[in-house]
């Protein structure tokens, strides 16, 4: 198993949603409540493309990640990674969640090594690989630390290193910086930009922050009430930096356009 994982390239597969629907059902007293989280959603994220999905909370954007990660089966349609439909958790994807979800009894290094352990990679190989990704996210000096000894931003770096260590074809990020304070958030965005330029993996990035989506993405999908309302290409040069974007007129244009679309997405009844 390990050689195939070792050698393969990241980001060589695309992700596509075909009429994806998700309907949650629960019973409240004598009522059956059906929530349509996704309704015939179709889109495609090209290999090595960075796509953000923005939308108001409850618009179904997180459900897309859960389906892509194989944690939930859609009630209709299909989600494919490359040619294959996702039917359960697989090694093609890795997910960074909003809460870092680190195992408190494992050190930073052991947390990053966890998915490799699950994949059956030998002890020495996984320690070396984990160390490599701990370094990539700038936490070399903290390998032996426990999660509680780290700040929120550092914990989320560990979560990122853990996902990257899998060398996923598609990296899924579900509001990964949503719980961070403004400064840590900016640092993590810069860090992600740097790492992504270097790894060029396919990314689906869920967020509700417009500036974050513009800074990071090639394309932004605007969602509202379970459907994709609009797609906006972010034609800004790469490599990008926050400073560069601030002095570019197109940024402002994009911001107001996305702002409008988001307002529409929120207001229009489905």
């Amino acid at each position: 198993m390990s050689p195939t994982l070792e050698r393969r390239q990241t980001g060589s597969l695309d992700l596509s949603a075909h009429d994806l629907s998700m309907c949650f059902e629960r019973t409240v007293g004598r009522e059956r409540v059906l929530t349509q989280a996704l309704q015939d959603v179709s889109f495609r994220v090209r290999a090595q493309e960075f796509v953000s999905v923005i939308g108001p909370s409850g618009c179904g954007k997180s459900t897309i990640v859960r389906i892509a990660a194989g944690l939930q089966r859609p009630t209709g349609g299909a989600l494919r990674i490359g040619p294959n439909e996702v039917t359960g958790p697989g090694r093609e994807t890795a997910t960074v969640f909003q809460s870092p979800g680190l195992l408190p009894w494992r050190t930073v290094l052991d947390n990053v090594a966890l998915p490799l352990e699950v994949a059956g990679i030998g002890k020495r190989d996984r320690a070396a690989r984990a160390a490599e990704y701990v370094e990539l996210v700038g936490l070399s000096g903290f390998s032996g630390h426990y999660p509680r000894e780290l700040s929120g931003g550092m914990q989320q770096r560990v979560g990122l290193a853990r996902a990257l260590a899998v060398r996923p074809q598609v990296l899924l990020m579900d509001e990964p910086f949503g719980n961070l304070d403004a400064i840590s958030r900016q640092r993590m965005q810069d860090e992600l930009l740097r790492i992504w330029e270097h790894m060029k993996t396919t990314v689906v990035f869920i967020t509700h922050a417009i500036d974050e989506a513009i800074l990071l993405s090639d394309r932004v999908l605007v969602m509202g009430r379970g459907v994709v309302r609009a797609e906006v290409d972010i034609e800004l040069p790469r490599p990008r930096s926050r400073r560069m974007l601030l002095s570019d007129e197109r940024t402002l244009e994009l911001m107001s356009r996305l702002e409008d679309l988001l307002g529409d997405a929120d207001g229009t009844p489905a």
Partner: protein
């Protein structure tokens, strides 16, 4: 990185000094001395029959401890407690884990465990005598009954508690059910399991003494009964203290095992050292 963490080793000697000579230890010692002094004063005033003072309990201890009879009582009681506790621990943890991982098992076992949890086990002892006679068996069964439900319930709670958002994360990496169990559920549940075992250990001691009291002729519980019948409050006190010592050292051992085990793999235990 804004924060840096420094680790320094504390010397063994310093550690020992901190533990033995802390402010808390001093306060505890003073309280103990005050209690003993009051006890002594009241005991001398009221006489041995009503409340034997510590001095006469000590002289009883000096008489009793060297005798072979005392050690055989102690041995029989301690063996029963240990045997019963080990059975309760193994069975209890197994059943708790089973209930935590299988909904069917939980459905079947929940009412039984809830009932067992509230039954006054002492009331079962006469039945145990009818079923198992007067040997070691009924006493061990009594210990098991006293200790097991606490262990089942805490283990069950721990296992259910461990399967939270963390399992979603680990599942997303393609972990099998077995991997999930070994890597998330067990380590997550361990603090609960050990808490259950600690309470179980204390309850095992209680169970043994209650069973022996009702047997009237065996072990330390039996000796308490005999002493009470002879109005020897000094002996009653002495045996109660012996039971207390057994109980404390027993849960102490469980706690030690917990510390040693968890130190290597549960972060929260590093702080308390």
């Amino acid at each position: 990185m804004s924060a840096s963490v420094r680790r320094e080793q504390i010397g063994r000697r310093e550690l020992l000094r901190r533990r033995l000579l802390s402010r808390q230890r001093l306060i505890q010692l003073i309280v103990l001395l005050v209690v003993l002094a009051v006890w002594e004063a009241v005991g001398r005033h009221q006489g041995d029959f009503f409340l034997a003072p510590p001095s006469s309990v000590i002289s009883t201890a000096v008489d009793e401890v060297p005798t072979a009879a005392f050690w055989s009582l102690l041995g029989s009681t301690a063996t029963g407690i240990l045997l019963g506790f080990v059975i309760a621990a193994v069975l209890g943890v197994l059943l708790g884990v089973l209930m935590g991982t299988s909904r069917t098992a939980a459905t079947i076992l929940n009412p039984i465990v809830s009932a067992g949890y509230v039954i006054p086990e002492a009331a079962m002892v006469p039945l145990l005598i009818v079923w198992f006679g007067l040997g070691m068996t009924p006493r061990v069964v009594a210990v098991v009954l006293f200790a097991i439900f606490e262990i089942i319930v805490t283990t069950y709670t721990g296992v259910r508690n461990a399967d939270g958002s963390l399992s979603d994360v680990v599942r997303s990496f393609g972990a099998s059910r077995r991997q999930l169990f070994v890597k998330v559920t067990v380590p997550g549940a361990l603090p609960f399991i050990f808490a259950g075992l600690r309470i179980g250990a204390a309850r095992a001691v209680k169970g043994m003494v209650v069973a022996e009291l009702l047997f009237a002729a065996t072990g330390i519980g039996g000796a308490i009964q005999l002493s009470a019948n002879g109005f020897r409050t000094d002996q009653v006190m002495f045996y109660v203290i012996i039971v207390t010592i057994i109980g404390i050292s027993f849960s102490g051992v469980v706690q030690l095992v917990e510390r040693l085990w968890m130190r290597s793999w549960h972060e929260s235990y590093r702080q308390t050292d």
